[in-house]
Symmetry: C2
Subunit: 340 residues, 2 copies
């Protein structure tokens, strides 16, 4: 089997504008950093709270849930793996759209599950809910790498027609207008997966959160490692959630930059699906240089974006939303390359 | 399926001498704490190094390996789970001694594997190597909960007779006279699993290390989450490994305390298997109160040790080695209870 290939992480000496793995350009909450420093003491010799009580209570408060509905994970990747181990038997089936998060086929291979891949059009407006039999549906919403979101109503239709567990993989949902969260109280087959990596600027901390019906959450908690979140991560994540003002300010800045940058790309001739995430997918139009060439030209100019070298995606680039200054500089560089 | 039940973690308000989950009584290296504080900065917005390069190189140096032989994990529990996912198919078999680490049956259930449980006598001197067919042998050495170690020669015999992967689960090996490490260069079917939780006083950080043949390590790395270790944990663990003087001083103190405390227990009438770990198993003899009663009496006196309420183990207690003062006070309390 093939391993998941993460985006390039430049070495310490490489100075690049890094817009390839959807990190948040703004620093984490000072309260999170303070909590992390406070964790650097003699109590580190003791095991962390296996129940992650403080973090779960803070998340429950922020998202209007009961703490029994929250399962914290070592990044949302671990939570996706836990869902697979909880709900997919060997030889069972997993459904997902193609393209979506490129970890899904790897998770399916690890679980020795069959995959049902459904084509996702770049413009998913009016897309009918698929009729498919599988144990789990992995729905990346907003979708990676296109950035397009599924509406709450569409996800509810999927829950009505799909017989298994629907995983709303909402890694980017904090940047979206709509999410599946309002559906949770009446849909026990819905598992929502969030992460603090992007919206809370904590990719380096590895904290994800699953929201589910209490009984589903309890099943998932059984399968997870007892001590899956270390003390510093639990403390810093709880402090980050408590600082909603910091989170909202950065989210709003990124949404505003996303709108400005999307408009610039459209002016330059790119087709840009309406993004609900902290990245955009920029597809080249006729008469423009190939996306592969633009990607290479940007790398020469010290801009690192994401190029997927495979059919169906190699006409575009996925570009994370950085600061306004970074995106202005990038738009300038793209303009030079496109107009040459 | 039943979840693994970790040892009790007292709440913040409970003042107990905590000797139930084999934590190190001494604080972590000041260099590790400094590295953790240094990680509390703006770079936390960036993903960690998925390859954990610095940590792997430091571990390779300390243990005389190549960095390609080291797979870091989110605690040794994650590494055990990775071994299962890498080497055990659904319906495949896993062998282990009973008793040993109580996580093994849970891992087998998650992997939907058959289990082959082999009885482990309390005194394993002269124990023949078992003849058994399975994909993986999970060998807890030193054994939990008895503390007894398997010699290097015995483990080599097991490798010669057992056809699958032998996992030397050496969570406590830093406190032992012998380990399986010298066998690694000539045994590609050996996977060694260590942890920084006990010997480096970093239970709160969740860092384990697997040592294996480079090809086996590469297979395991494929199955692990890309970003399984967060930035603070990678930095602090590398710094802890670099401080060998701190580690050795604490290890030596714990070994000395273990010898003293074991002798005291023997004087009080307990049967104590010769421990190679940072805990001892104290079995009650004839005419003594039941272990359950001693456990309850100790809890009343604010000493928390581990009592396993199941046949074959309920005649004793597993007691972590704390400081000399803690163990003297505990021995006094046990003496009171035994002599009543």
């Amino acid at each position: 089997m093939s391993a998941y290939v993460p985006g390039l992480q430049p070495g310490p000496g490489q100075r690049l504008v890094k817009l390839n793995t959807n990190e948040n350009p703004y620093p984490p909450s000072p309260r999170a950093l303070k909590a992390l420093r406070a964790a650097a003491g003699p109590r580190l010799r003791l095991y962390p709270d296996p129940a992650c009580r403080e973090l779960r209570e803070r998340a429950a408060e922020v998202y209007g849930l009961d703490a029994a509905q929250v399962v914290p994970g070592n990044g949302s990747d671990e939570l996706l793996a836990i869902v697979m181990r909880t709900f997919v038997d060997e030889g069972g089936a997993v459904a997902y759209f193609q393209p979506s998060y490129s970890l899904y086929p790897v998770l399916a291979a690890v679980a020795r599950a069959r995959v049902v891949e459904l084509p996702l059009p770049r413009d998913a407006t009016g897309l009918p809910v698929p009729r498919v039999q599988a144990g789990v549906f992995l729905l990346s919403t907003p979708n990676a790498p296109y950035g397009t979101g599924f509406s709450t109503a569409w996800i509810e239709s999927l829950l009505a027609s799909f017989p298994g567990i629907v995983v709303a993989d909402e890694a980017y949902a904090e940047f979206a207008d709509e999410t599946s969260l309002p559906l949770l109280p009446r849909h026990p087959r819905l598992v929502i997966i969030r992460t603090l990596s992007k919206s809370y600027s904590l990719a380096g901390l590895r904290v994800g959160l699953a929201f589910a019906h209490p009984e589903v959450a309890a099943e998932m908690a059984k399968v997870k490692d007892s001590y899956n979140l270390d003390r510093p991560a639990q403390a810093a994540a709880a402090a980050a959630l408590a600082d909603q003002a910091h989170f909202r300010a950065n989210r709003d800045r990124i949404r505003a930059t996303r709108a400005r940058f999307s408009a610039r790309l459209t002016e330059l001739g790119f087709a840009v699906p309406a993004s609900q995430a902290n990245f955009v997918f920029a597809a080249t139009g006729t008469g423009m240089p190939a996306a592969r060439e633009i990607y290479a030209g940007l790398l020469e100019r010290r801009f690192l974006v994401r190029f997927f070298d495979r059919p169906g995606l190699d006409d575009g680039m996925r570009i994370s939303i950085g600061t306004d200054d970074e995106m202005d500089a990038l738009a300038g560089a793209i303009g030079d390359l496109v107009r040459r």
